[in-house]
């Protein structure tokens, strides 16, 4: 467990020295969501209807933006190799890296989403559901994305390939995440969607670090 926390601290420290990489994802999220009203038109009814979908798709693409770097830098300078040979289990270190990725690329989106939701005329309770759905959903995106990042490590055209591998797997998260807000607005209650998101998150927490570790070992061979 200490090794996990040490990895998180390490990655946060590294990100602190290179702020631009973290801020890119956040800026992307803010700009893309602000572009939609400009492209569609300022009708509040329409904007309100498409807001959950837009915010979710933007969040999905923003997390995707940071994924290629998740393991690449450590792979190039050889620290990943040292991690694989560390006396701590690689799975723990990988879990730490995924957690750090979420803290850097996922959590800022969760915190920003209510502010951006205001642009789309969502009311307070809908904003709350949106934030909650993103809070459950963005770690799921980081976990699934890590598998893709590990599989495409050091591979030609890795970035595009990563998107091709990971985006289809993101669909359930998108459906339930955006669906939660829509269901709430429609007065159906978001409980079902949110609990399904939580169930998928639990499944991913269990499987994804394991699959990522296996993929990393293959990439290091």
């Amino acid at each position: 467990m200490n090794a996990l926390l040490a990895t998180v601290r390490r990655d946060l420290l590294l990100a602190l020295r290179r702020k631009s990489e973290v801020l890119t994802a956040v800026f992307f999220f803010v700009i893309v969501t602000s572009l939609f009203p400009l492209g569609i038109g300022p009708e509040p009814v329409l904007l309100k209807k498409i807001a959950p979908g837009i915010l979710w798709v933007a969040a999905l693409l923003a997390t995707l933006l940071g994924l290629p770097r998740l393991f690449a830098a450590d792979h190039v300078d050889g620290t990943l190799e040292q991690m694989a040979l560390s006396s701590s289990p690689l799975g723990l270190l990988v879990a730490g890296k995924i957690l750090a990725h979420w803290l850097l690329c996922g959590l800022p989106l969760v915190l920003l989403a209510p502010v951006l939701g205001l642009q789309f005329d969502l009311d307070a309770s809908a904003l709350g559901i949106l934030t909650l759905a993103l809070l459950l959903g963005t770690p799921l995106l980081s976990l699934i994305g890590a598998i893709g990042a590990a599989l495409t490590l050091g591979v030609r055209g890795g970035g595009v390939l990563l998107a091709l591998l990971v985006l289809p797997l993101y669909i359930p998260a998108l459906i339930f995440g955006a669906g939660a807000v829509e269901a709430h607005i429609a007065g159906l209650g978001a409980g079902g969607h949110l609990s399904l998101l939580a169930a998928m998150l639990a499944l991913a927490v269990f499987f994804a670090p394991w699959a990522t570790t296996a993929a990393l070992r293959i990439a290091l061979e």
């Binding site: 040490a6 590294l14 694989a84 040979l85 290091l220």
Partner: protein
């Protein structure tokens, strides 16, 4: 303690080596020699468990590797710098130890850096150091991580005369304390004794 037998490895369709075997006891070291492309680095990676062998058996304290115990006893330094450019040498040592689950105090890490001649560079980002100095930061891990088996791949490259001599001393100290080492190099090494394996 380290026993290797019948090791075989191929890259793609090309067979690099087959039936490689050796054993090391406390205080012994092995010099792996061979031309470029003979498979020295591949052998090192097989040995530490980064890549799987086509055939063969590697045993550490009579247990098959890679085991947790083996990883705890092992330190492997390869071609890569394996240091973070944005961090200082001190931070690099401390974080590497933390990932291994080793508590490293300030004094021990400073002592390692001073020993490797990095006095005055502890708080500079590694980015601004020269290639040889980066290499020294990596080598400082030999002092901060208590390992029995040192596997050093081309560790003497990019080092100046003083550093080569220093690394030779470090290895000799390690051996006389009952450690073991596997080294690859083209040139003769400044370490007395040792077995030789030619690929």
């Amino acid at each position: 303690m380290l026993k290797v037998s019948g090791l075989a490895c191929s890259r793609g369709e090309r067979r690099l080596f087959a039936d490689v075997g050796f054993s090391l006891a406390a205080g012994e070291w092995l010099h792996v020699q061979g031309e470029n492309g003979a498979g020295k680095t591949s052998l090192m990676r097989l040995l530490v468990g980064l890549s799987p062998a086509d055939a063969g058996d590697i045993r550490w304290r009579d247990e098959p590797t890679p085991s947790v115990e083996f990883r705890r006893d092992l330190i492997y330094l390869g071609h890569h710098a394996a240091v973070k450019e944005d961090l200082t040498p001190l931070e690099n040592l401390r974080l590497a130890a933390a990932l291994d689950g080793i508590a490293l105090d300030e004094r021990a890490s400073l002592a390692a850096l001073v020993r490797l001649g990095l006095r005055g560079r502890e708080d500079l980002p590694v980015r601004v150091l020269s290639a040889g100095q980066k290499r020294r930061v990596l080598l400082a891990r030999l002092l901060t991580r208590p390992a029995v088996l040192w596997v050093l791949d081309e560790a003497f490259n990019a080092l100046d005369i003083a550093a080569v001599k220093l690394l030779g001393e470090l290895i000799a100290e390690h051996l006389s304390a009952g450690g073991m080492a596997v080294l690859t190099s083209h040139q003769p090494l400044p370490v007395p004794g040792g077995k030789t394996l030619v690929l």
